[in-house]
């Protein structure tokens, strides 16, 4: 569950990135967050990751009160969230298997569990035959699937996808969003941040629109 109460963010250069934003995304929901460049979408994600702190307001993510969560405990929050980024953010020196397994290794998961879970998740995203490939040997769509597998592997409560289709061709865009929808149907909360209105229209569902740091629309479409 994600909840923001009267959250504002003003950067040190005086720019108001978010202005009195209140928002709640319940467990198991699928929500699009849309807005133009500079609207405040990235600031919202950085807040949820605890990369930055709000100037005012309260944020709760998966039961963590972020104003009370110390910086050196941020990993506890991040382990409950799966991230998917526009630029995939895969570790170039690791193959597909190791990129996905890294998440489980970092939480000290048993080797047996890693050996079972990682191939399963990789096959879920359709990359069974590419487990030993390195990121530079994969297409954009395949890299995004690896990122999805990595986000899924730890069975997170919430998946945040920041422009997950930004670098993909139309077919891959649809496939990635269908995968996210499938993940959501299993009970995981999914928040997709995008500026591609056509995709939102195509899939429909809860859509939150941010303009100049304020929520200007929050309803179901399609």
């Amino acid at each position: 569950m994600v909840e923001l109460k009267n959250v504002s963010v003003t950067y040190s250069n005086g720019v108001d990135a978010l202005n009195d934003v209140s928002l709640r995304i319940n467990d198991g929901e699928f929500a699009f967050v849309v807005g133009k460049s500079g609207a405040g979408k990235s600031t919202l994600i950085r807040l949820l990751l605890q990369e930055i702190e709000p100037t005012s307001g309260k944020i709760t993510v998966n039961g963590f009160n972020l104003s009370k969560l110390k910086k050196n405990k941020a990993h506890k929050l991040r382990r409950t969230i799966g991230f998917v980024f526009q630029d995939f953010k895969l570790i170039d020196t690791m193959n597909v298997y190791d990129n996905v397994a890294f998440v489980l290794r970092s939480i000290d998961a048993p080797i047996k569990y890693i050996r079972n879970r990682v191939p399963y998740v990789i096959s879920l995203v359709g990359l069974k035959d590419k487990a030993k490939a390195f990121p530079h040997e994969l297409s954009g769509g395949e890299q995004q699937r690896v990122a999805l597998a990595r986000a899924l592997v730890n069975d997170p409560q919430l998946i945040i996808a920041d422009e997950p289709t930004g670098n993909l061709d139309p077919t891959n865009k649809i496939e990635i969003l269908e995968l996210l929808k499938a993940i959501n149907s299993c009970g995981t909360t999914v928040m997709v941040v995008t500026h591609e209105h056509e995709l939102v229209q195509y899939f429909g569902g809860r859509t939150i629109s941010i303009t100049d740091g304020r929520i200007t629309f929050d309803d179901y479409i399609g």
Binding site: L49, E51, K71, N72, A74, H75, K76, R78, R79, F83, K89, L90, I91, D92, T93, F102, V103, R105, S106, I107, D108, P110, I111, R150, N154
Partner: protein, 303 residues
């Protein structure tokens, strides 16, 4: 942390050495050169100290005894001198022995003529030869000896010792300054090298943080990697120093005449310091490199 995780992180660190091999080789070279510079400076200073100590040890104070002093009095004087602080050892040097040595030293034809003039009468005095423990405190020791009865005169290399002590102190200070400067410069260069090696992986560190890895989980492979490069640098520097020093000594020792004039008996043999050097190099390399690398990751762990 589980043993399996430690095992994984160790392997990851070793793999990083190979994956980032260009930076690894660069770090290895920089660290080895730094260790070599410090090591050779230390060896140079140690050899200089050995030379100075060798010259110092050759100092000898000779106390001439008044003519007509009997054996009992000489024996009592010897005991008194032996009990004076800072006197390392005392040897009685009889006038007969002195004459004999003098004859042996003058091995030419004129010497026999000279000694024939002397006849049966031995003009040389009895004496004590003594060695001073702490050469810097020679003056008060000589003053104390001078207070004894039956002393004709004292011959001591006081001026030379003063120069030598000054030289030793000067070398000590200069070598400390050079070493401190070298260590400082090396640390700056090494920290820049490790920072550069970590810099190219800042993206990797940021991703690890985002997927929930703890700081220690991220740091351990860097620590292993830094330590491995450090140990390797230590081994490389040891090999170069041992081979280089041995060859240098061989070349310098080809003609010992020049060194003998300077009262140099020989250089510090390799086996006298080899293991200390190897262990020192490896320990210094490992510690500097491992901690340097880990410290460089710090700013990227604040994400």
């Amino acid at each position: 942390m589980k043993i399996s995780s430690m095992n994984y992180l160790f392997k990851q660190g070793m793999r990083n050495v190979w994956t980032n091999r260009i930076m690894s080789v660069a770090s290895l070279c920089i660290l080895s050169v730094s260790l070599l510079l410090i090591g050779f400076t230390l060896l140079f200073v140690a050899n200089i100290n050995r030379f100075v100590n060798g010259i110092e040890n050759k100092n000898e104070v000779v106390i001439f005894i008044e003519d007509g002093t009997d054996e009992t009095e000489i024996s009592a004087m010897e005991n008194t001198i032996r009990n004076i602080n800072n006197v390392e050892n005392v040897t009685f040097y009889s006038k007969e022995q002195a004459l004999e040595d003098m004859k042996n030293d003058m091995e030419n034809e004129n010497a026999e003529d000279l000694f024939s003039y002397v006849g049966e009468e031995n003009p040389l005095p009895d004496a004590f030869r003594l060695r001073i423990a702490d050469i810097e405190k020679i003056s008060p020791t000589l003053m104390e000896i001078n207070r004894l009865d039956k002393i004709d005169s004292i011959k001591s290399p006081t001026d030379f010792i003063n120069i030598l002590t000054g030289l030793k102190n000067f070398i000590g200070i200069i070598s400390l300054v050079i070493l401190a400067a070298l260590i400082l410069v090396s640390l700056v260069i090494i920290s820049n090298a490790s920072r550069a090696s970590v810099d190219i992986r800042k993206r990797e560190i940021a991703i690890m943080k985002l997927v929930g890895a703890t700081n220690s989980f991220i740091k351990i492979p860097f620590f292993v990697e830094g330590m491995f490069i450090g140990v390797l640098s230590g081994v490389l520097a040891s090999a170069i120093t041992c081979i280089g020093y041995n060859e240098l000594i061989k070349v310098l020792s080809q003609d010992m005449t020049v060194w003998s004039i300077m009262s140099v008996n020989g250089f510090i043999p390799l086996n006298e310091f080899m293991w200390t050097l190897i262990l020192g190099y490896i320990a210094a390399g490992a510690v500097i490199s491992a901690f340097g690398t880990v410290m460089s990751t710090r700013k990227y762990l604040k994400v």
